[in-house]
Amino acid sequence: MAIHAIERATARQPATAMADTGGAAAQAALRVTGLTKQFDTPQGPLTAVQDVSFSVGEGEFVSIIGPSGCGKSTLFKILGGLADGYRGRAFVGNEPVAGPHPAIGMVFQEESTFPWRNVLDNVAFPLEIAGMAKGQRQERARHFIGLVGLAGFEQRYPAELSGGMRQRVAIARTLAFEPKILLMDEPFGSLDEQTRLLLGDKVLQIHQSLKQTSLLITHSITEAVQLSDRIIVMTYRPGRIKRVVPIDLPRPRTSEVVSSEAFGRYVAAIWADLREEASRGMTDAERPS
């Protein structure tokens, strides 16, 4: 039964600009319509995303997956209010995006811990900005530090930690903010497979208990299928929506789902789409510029 759902969802459809009309019928937490963004490069204008429209309903967990260079991070920055110069519209709730929205928390792809603060002060940073009292914010920070498995490392500095541990600090920092909407750009990139699965579980638990809305940018198909309600597959540059795949795996979900048959079929189906785009990306990279 689930198998038929997969086949229907991934049946060959034309890869024209697809408007994703999924998401709850009620007020969407995030919505973009006709998003197009170009960058100026020495080699000429580069279109990162072209005419992208989708929405994320409240409480949904949506992943955007695509080959490198398909503009996923651009979408992340636009929704986070950190980018401008685009055509089309972006909304958080029913407010147009104009700078970072108070309900949104972002986890960045790059190394983003503050090297001059220890782990505790890093994670407490958003609470400090919001004016929370020291004792309270440190207690809250400790809770999230424990959640990402770094209990005991509160006094260490980022330089003393591995890349993966630093990324966990960054995730804990955003989670400590307890945002209603969580935007994550390849947050698990520098982590090994096992840590990734376990952290994914934790993120899902928080998503469920706080009734968060989450948008995850990733290039890992297994991660996307493990965590999401819906997966938006992007084409290679200029990034368009190639396909939207509803993931019909049971909730509440744990990392054990990776061993189920349905999981495997979803992954295979999405790879079939993604492989085409990824190879276009690979040959492009090999071409002399």
Partner: protein
Amino acid sequence: MAATERLTPATARAIDPVWTLRLAIIAALLVAWELLARSGLLFQDVVPSLVKIVAALGLLMVNPAFWSNLGVTVSEVALAMAIGGVAGLATGILVGGSRFLSRAYEAPLYYLAPTPKIIFFPVMIMWFGIGPASKIAMGAVSCFFPIALSTAAGMRQIAPVLIDVGRSFRASTMQMVMKIYIPAMIAPVASGLRLGLGVAIIGTLLAETKLSNKGLGFLIIQSYQHFDMPEMYAILIVVFTLAALINAIFARPHNSPKPNSP
């Protein structure tokens, strides 16, 4: 060395090969020096006996003229650092903070930095006279460049993602400055100040040797003119020891140990 690894800490410390070698080298140099001094091979007192040098050092320490001249030099260097430091910091912040200004002015600063500043001294004398002001000006010009360049680089090199993190949590401008910009810049600015101090000392002292009647530089030239070699060695020992101490105090603190996992 494998042989020492099995020993208890106490014994290992006692025969630490590194320190043994160091002491041996120092002892050899001192012995060679003393032999050369007493051999009469070189012109008298070009290499004075260690005894004479130590005696001169002793005399120096109790000579009030030495301390007043030291005070003059210290105050000149301090003022030079204050002037050059403020100018350098301001310039660095302005130039490093704007992409346009950085591309316009950072290169000229960078290429002008490794030039011999002492050749500006005649200009300083014309503008500020032969008193301490020209020496301070010399020191200030010397330390301006490394401070401005380090500060500009520090501004420029703040990882943009750190700014994004601050913005994503909607930090106010004041919070961005106090909690992100300033902490991010402390390390490069401190490094620039350390370099600046080193060249301020050199610039000021060289100016004193060229044209002055006060300061440690003046004392050095005076002992040269009187051919009082033991005194010159003594003053030079003091100057180099002070320079080494200052360097050690402001040396880059080895903050956190290196990460030990992938």
